[in-house]
Symmetry: C2
Subunit: 375 residues, 2 copies
């Protein structure tokens, strides 16, 4: 009945969506029909949340309403606050944050209601709570308390304030805002697909989002931006050491994180923006090392393997320049992607069918059972 397997479901259409579209050949990405090149740098993350979760780019009045709702919703509930000290010892921030995101449901009055209105409210809460949760976790593990968000900064600026402890420059806040927009949604990436598979059992939004957190953590997905930074930091000799490192790694059949993509056959349009941002930050901070290393690595990998950098590659140096600790790079991805995840759960619940594929059996057949004494 079933055809041959498409390993990894490559090129298999698993769902219909009105949220985003990728043209992998032309290297284009659209959120609800808007080209990412039109949105990046011109549309705030909050506008992008409105676009994905509520369906349209907001008017000023609509944006004001959403911003007020986000500020109202961002407080971390008592249960997640109480759980926090007990997961600080987790091996990585994403491990701790998976448990903490799950615990957010306890204080969510709509936790078990998957109706359209409840899902909208939960999406706003989760988008608002995610940066607060990362900041609260980071403060707790470093023995302090995160500064309170301020009213004249958006999600991006407040996150930088809370993580670095000092108010970001207007340009730094703008740049990080653009990063959040660039990471907000990307069709059936593994974590979004995970969220939709969970939601398609008619399970609730927190279950779907907790599952997505688990998928994002993987080094073949959101974990790649941290891996890129660690690679850069491990290369001896800075920019002059890049070529030898790349060639040695590829000769040993090692994987270079931050290159290649299941869908793009040309440059990832998000990488175009992040390269530009990385260069700007390198110039403005005077710390050009990681930008130059990134450019050199990009050249060598293209020469040797013909692979393009993906969204994770230049994100690494950008986040580094913005003062974000390396092990929070993947949580930053989650702060942004929460907007896409929640919008996909809403969309899945509005027109649901259980996602339940087939499998190909490759094991032993016709095994004869014998009692344990005779084995």
């Amino acid at each position: 009945m079933a055809d041959k397997p498409a390993r990894g479901l490559a090129d298999v259409v698993a769902a219909s969506t009105a949220l985003s579209d990728v043209d992998g050949v032309a290297g284009r990405l659209y959120y609800r029909g808007y080209d990412i090149h039109d949105l990046a740098g011109r549309t705030s993350f909050e506008e992008c949340v409105h676009l994905l979760v509520r369906g349209t780019l907001p008017t000023t009045a609509e944006l004001d309403t959403l911003v007020a709702e986000l500020a109202e919703a961002r407080t971390i509930g008592a249960s997640a606050q109480a759980v926090l000290p007990h997961v600080i010892r987790s091996g990585t921030p994403m491990e701790a944050l998976r448990t903490l995101v799950s615990a957010l449901s306890v204080d969510d009055p709509d936790a078990s209601d998957s109706g359209a209105e409840a899902n909208q409210r939960k999406a706003v809460r989760l988008v608002a709570q995610m940066p607060m949760l990362v900041a609260t976790y980071h403060a707790a593990r470093t023995g302090g308390a995160a500064p309170d968000p301020v009213v004249d900064l958006g999600i991006a600026g407040n996150f930088l304030l809370q993580i670095t402890g000092s108010r970001p420059s207007p340009r730094a806040a703008e740049i990080f805002d653009e990063c959040l927009v660039l990471h907000a949604d990307h069709t059936m990436n593994a974590s979004t697909f995970t969220a939709r598979v969970v939601a398609a059992t008619l399970s609730d939004m927190h279950s779907a989002i907790t599952a997505a957190m688990g998928a994002l953590r993987g080094p073949l997905h959101g974990g790649a931006n941290e891996a890129v930074m660690k690679t850069m930091q491990s290369i001896d000799g800075g920019v002059d050491g890049v070529e030898a490192y790349v060639r040695q790694t590829l000769d040993a059949h090692g994987k270079l994180m931050g290159f290649g993509h299941r869908v793009y056959k040309t440059e990832d349009p998000r990488a175009t923006h992040l390269r530009r941002i990385s260069e700007e930050l390198a110039d403005s901070t005077g710390d050009r090392g990681y930008y130059k290393m990134s450019r050199r690595m990009e050249e060598v990998v293209f020469d040797v393997k013909g692979l393009y950098p993906n969204v994770d590659f230049f994100a690494a140096s950008v986040y580094h320049y913005l003062g974000i600790p390396t092990d929070l790079f993947t949580p930053v991805f989650a702060v942004s992607r929460m907007s896409g995840w929640t919008a996909h759960v809403i969309e899945q619940h509005l027109d649901n069918r259980l996602i339940r594929p087939d499998s190909e059996y490759i094991g032993e057949r016709d095994q004869k059972w014998v009692p344990i004494e005779e084995r």
Copy 2:
């Protein structure tokens, strides 16, 4: 590049597996080539864990080793213990258990190691910890402490001891053991598929299992056994009220939980066993009501819709007869399915490819961006 979507990935082969196989036309289920009809009632859950996780039905010596390892591994770590009081207020046990399973990673020395040996150790721990976690949660919410497991009962018997507070009869323990075997694995069901999608990013086992917990909770998946029981309890007039209830529900295009299956076109072989067990328990307890209602519902639904009962349908009355609270029916499913989930994560990591499908875009195109002031 991509074909038309297969809604819900029906009949799409998403992965290869040597763990289980379903012949939906003949109504057969196999674990590693052993017919479920040969395993059910003759093979303990611990033997089944060995079969799925370690690859073979064990010899007596191998089984003794595994049983000792399971007993050693079942203690709930300090972090999950500390998190427990803060998630008691969760709306449902599955919501609390999702957070608790996630928190188990904090005290797992192999949490971030996805190597083959670490995965084997984590599988044993998770299989052993899951029933303890359900029992500890249930005791905490009812204000008591779960009895300690005893050495002369297996996972099934100890679970009944811990949940009901009294030692089960040998036959009750045998019957529940058979239930655990029947629920252990089932190809690419939604929660197992979720676990594999997460694992395929090279994320860790706890992330994959936490995600699976979220999927199992859904009423179109593991949540169905609870829904069946609640349906029975809501029917006025007992067995005489069943036909009217079924016809009214179907006339109103309502969904009857516990019937139909994506894969089986005939009777689910697990339902055959659970029907027999339900009848035996009805006879031995003298409480024939829910068994008779189940039989009547099965008849009417087949007459009206031609649908067969699935694994969840008779599981409801069986668990009821065994003294398990209705809202723990889905956690019981998790206690069993943990064996399949962990085996699938092991299998996915041994021969991995990122699971990243395509999507069909159905939204607006060529949207023209304008500044917010002009919207």
